[in-house]
């Protein structure tokens, strides 16, 4: 490695300027703004935070983000894991993987339109144009307004999230699964272990670190979920989420104090993940 007085800083300068201007400075400034009123003129102490943690709309948003956190993370992880394991046994693995991974390539807005169409609702006596309600009619059930009905709308949007992200979990977990030494699995089978036992006592413990990484990624994404909700229901009818609420406070109500406090709450939720990332990196460095 070469020593070089000013030279390193010349290489770093453009990046540091961009990072400082677009990430570091605004993060600190938003923190500051969160203690001021809607037009950033008067200091209001913790008032915005009290609002953010107690108002009806925000409580709904917190509930929904929690619902996303549990259902979305749980479903994508388990589906991804199952697919990683069973696809390993068939010859058309590559094709199946392409199909399931494809939604990762398209935008959330595009996915939102695709699924709004799947969920489309027509009264019982009309011909259904949405796939899901057509299936219900086929079974002689009444069609459901999936995105309008408060009992189903959150689940309907979460299902779209699962549709998009399962492929991601599958591909990462599949790579880890294929990394498990074959001898280990063979030895267990020779000793008479059933497929279930192999899965629980060998596969799962071996790919646990990868599961942790995938889960972290999902959690970060779930906390900030925005596009899907914005396109599919715009947070109406009890489907509000934190990030969409912040957008509304910022552009519809022009309340910069409240919007800032919501952003800070998002950041606080993500800080543990950030520390985890940094620590993991330092461990990797120590091993280099």
């Amino acid at each position: 490695m070469k020593k070089g007085g000013v030279l390193p800083w010349l290489y770093l300068a453009p990046s540091l300027l961009f990072l400082g201007f677009f990430l570091v400075y605004p993060t600190l400034h938003t923190l500051y703004l969160s203690f001021f009123d809607e037009r950033s003129e008067n200091f209001v102490g913790l008032q915005n935070y009290i609002w953010a943690l107690t108002s009806e709309d925000m409580l709904i948003a917190f509930r929904n983000n929690l619902l996303w956190l549990v259902l979305f993370t749980g479903l994508t992880l388990s589906l991804g894991l199952i697919l990683a394991v069973i696809l390993d046994r068939v010859r058309y693995e590559a094709v199946a993987k392409s199909i399931i991974f494809m939604p990762m390539a398209i935008s959330f807005v595009g996915a939102g339109v695709i699924w709004k169409f799947v969920y489309a609702y027509r009264p019982a006596n009309a011909a259904q144009i949405g796939l899901l309600n057509a299936i219900l009619r086929l079974m002689n059930l009444n069609p459901i307004g999936w995105l309008v009905n408060r009992a189903t709308n959150n689940f309907a949007i979460i299902a779209v999230g699962v549709w998009i992200w399962t492929g991601f979990c599958m591909v990462v977990l599949s790579a880890a699964y294929k990394g498990i030494p074959k001898e280990l699995v063979e030895a267990a089978r020779v000793d008479g272990a059933s497929e279930w036992q192999v899965f629980w006592h060998i596969t799962l413990p071996m790919i646990k670190p990868t599961i942790a990484v995938v889960a972290t990624t999902l959690v970060i994404n779930v906390l900030k979920v925005f596009d899907l909700v914005y396109v599919m229901t715009n947070g109406d009818l009890g489907t509000e989420v934190i990030a969409n609420r912040m957008y509304k406070e910022m552009f519809h109500f022009l309340n910069f104090g409240r919007a800032s406090s919501i952003a800070v709450i998002l950041l606080l939720a993500i800080i543990p993940v950030m520390l985890f990332n940094i620590r993991r990196f330092q461990e990797q460095e120590a091993m280099r």
């Binding site: 390193p8 290489y11 961009f18 400034h29 990762m104 970060i220």
Partner: protein
């Protein structure tokens, strides 16, 4: 006997194949439905399900290109398509160039605070972009950068940098040390080592990064919404599509073709460069 065994084996794995094929169909169906609908005339889309085309799939009179003609001209999706390219290409090239310089410094130069600075970059990786919108938008409004291509290029550069620096630093750092040391001994400057060694050896990493950043920007709704929000003239596809969802509401024949116009570039990239695509997505999924 052998034949019988084979048959028994095939039979016992039948449920497995059925399960996989069912999942693949579920994953494929929503997109296929959208694609078929986008080629159906208005009245057909609004009065019958897309699956009814399978009653006579080769009756080509039931398909039309009219929806695409409509969205590309009357709904100005054509302009948005061009805008998406104008936004995405510089927003991919600038951050990669800037990041490569910094990544080289982090990997092969020595300077005080190197570890700490890089740990900060990793921390910035997960900052919710929401934290930055209000301060940056205020500055943009003052400088007249809101609603301009320059403004969004710079913003995407800032937001894309942490991940780009992180990925390239790891890749540069994994290149053989001897190579660089002998180059320095032969009197190569950092400038030469960067252009003649680091960059040419990192083409796969640069390709994955470019694809990831390209798709991230192409599919982005939130950043475009904030910084280009009200300006129709510069709106990219995602923005245009999401506003069509609001304004066209139940006009499914137009929405379906509009959604496909926005998806065509990512899908082509996905199917033609799948290897790089998968690597880019996997490495970049933790990005803020």
């Amino acid at each position: 006997m052998k034949m019988k065994k084979k048959l028994a084996k095939a039979f016992s794995s039948l449920p497995l194949h059925l399960a996989i094929i069912t999942i693949c169909l579920i994953w494929l169906m929503p997109t296929v439905g959208l694609l078929i609908s986008s080629f159906r005339p208005r009245n057909d889309v609004l009065t019958s399900g897309w699956w009814t085309v399978f009653q006579h799939p080769f009756d080509f009179t039931q398909y039309t290109l009219q929806n695409y003609v409509n969205v590309l001209s009357a709904q100005s999706m054509g302009r948005a398509f061009l805008n998406s390219f104008i936004i995405t290409i510089p927003s991919t090239l600038i951050p990669i160039t800037v990041a490569a310089l910094a990544a080289y410094a982090f990997a092969w130069m020595e300077f005080p605070g190197r570890q700490l600075l890089f740990a900060i970059v990793i921390g910035l990786l997960v900052i919710p972009l929401q934290m930055t919108f209000i301060p940056i938008l205020r500055i943009y409004n003052r400088l007249g950068l809101a609603g301009t291509f320059l403004g969004i290029w710079l913003a995407h550069t800032g937001y894309g940098l942490p991940f780009a620096v992180y990925l390239l630093r790891n890749f540069f750092g994994s290149l053989p040390k001897d190579l660089f040391e002998s180059a320095y001994l032969d009197g190569a400057s950092h400038f030469v080592a960067f252009f003649r060694l680091a960059l040419p050896l990192s083409v796969p990493a640069l390709a994955s990064l470019a694809i990831f950043q390209f798709l991230w920007v192409w599919n982005d709704l939130l950043v475009a919404l904030i910084y280009l929000g009200g300006t129709e003239r510069v709106a990219p596809l995602t923005l245009k599509l999401s506003s069509l969802v609001n304004s066209l509401g139940q006009n499914w024949h137009l929405l379906t073709s509009a959604a496909f116009v926005s998806m065509v570039v990512p899908l082509v990239l996905f199917f033609s460069l799948q290897r790089y695509f998968v690597r880019g997505i996997l490495a970049g999924a933790v990005k803020g």
